[in-house]
Subunit: 137 residues, 4 copies
């Protein structure tokens, strides 16, 4: 229980800014990539969920930046679920360089009807798929 998910990404040139490092907003983009990959492993392709009429939207985000993330580095993005509510899910994410935390944050997603954007309960099979990624604490 509490197994955290990790996904390797290479930092793209186009995601870096004139300071030569990953642009601060793009840390959220890399968090998003990890969520998509967590989905693939835990539940299935994100697009299948949308085809089934379910979508997720971000309601809240928080980030702390610890160290710059340079162009062309191969980093890991870790993700674990910290809360599975009735209609919402909170995840904790980290960008790791050689095991060191370069940034960390939380995302709160809300489940909605695809297209319609109305809040809805987390479908049972998605809840079951995410439970193994629930953090122990």
């Amino acid at each position: 229980m509490g197994s955290s998910f990790r996904h390797r990404v290479r930092v793209r040139y186009s995601d870096c800014d004139p300071q030569g490092v990953l642009f601060f907003a793009n840390h959220l983009t890399y968090f998003d990539i990890a969520i998509t990959e967590l989905w693939r492993e835990a539940i299935g392709p994100y697009g299948d969920m949308i085809d089934a009429g379910v979508d997720i939207v971000v309601a809240e985000a928080a980030l702390r930046y610890r160290a710059p993330v340079p162009f062309d580095d191969e980093i890991e993005v870790s993700a674990e679920v910290t809360r599975l509510g009735t209609t919402g899910m909170t995840t904790r994410l980290q960008i790791l360089r050689d095991g060191e935390v370069a940034s960390e944050g939380e995302l709160r997603h809300v489940f909605v009807t695809a297209g319609g954007n109305e809040k809805r309960e987390i479908p049972d099979e998605i809840r079951a798929g995410l439970e193994p990624y629930l953090a122990a604490d």
Copy 2:
């Protein structure tokens, strides 16, 4: 006749790369902004066309880069229509710094059914709206 359209844009930090200048792919993004603004002036908001069941997709693009475009510069993107066919439109675009050409290119758009992506004829009112922007040559 042949009036060319111009739109001022401030170069964003996030659109620049570690060389401190507008990332080369983002010249196309700035061309796209100019097309959206040309649409607003010539025809109306882009979204109204989609609501009416018509969309445009890019079929071809070409660019020549003359000079770097630095962060925070206020540039102009010029656009003129060089060809209005049955289902397609070609535009010539330039990024100008103090009147000097920093990059220039062409886009060929094809008109399609919104969502469906099937080729269709240019609607009459759109053709009429674009004709004043046809280049003289």
Copy 3:
């Protein structure tokens, strides 16, 4: 005192995602645009500060998303300074559609030596420039 800064932006097509609205990470990008424009009004062009050997980096970010921000909308990004410390500055930002808050958040910036990335005190002239934008509370 406590005058808040506002900057108008048109939501670009390329900043929107398959849900047809501003991608959640790009809210931070729009916050960044507002900081750059606040700088221009309060202090001068951002690049002048870098030329003078001073830069700012983001240490912390937080966002709450209230409502989707559709493509082609003309929005306002408001910014006010909530804290001016010795080496750091906190700002409160909002994305407004017709005066309604679509998203809001905070950024904590740290002043560093340009290039070197070592923490440094806020230069006096920058502090003086930002003080009029300090929130009353």
Copy 4:
């Protein structure tokens, strides 16, 4: 001889537009990723070249779009060198979905002094590294 290079990429949500497919300008971004990876295989990390005082800038780009590239698809970007001049290099690139060409194009890069942006000859070791990727025709 004429071995073409291929790199697999997963299409990111944030790279897609409201049409649900890879934004047209981002095809260039994916070409750029392939160039960086070709570099790694043929010569070494791109950053090492910059540290050695050499950089490349794009002088010309051309693209033909054949088919939309949907979100979450795993695509291949192929790259081969079609010309190695004195100071410039031309490459031919393709985005492939299940072996089918979704887009194709050419990039012309010019070698410059890093930072200075002055044209310079292709260093011998870089030329030697790229020669195996020269197209047969």
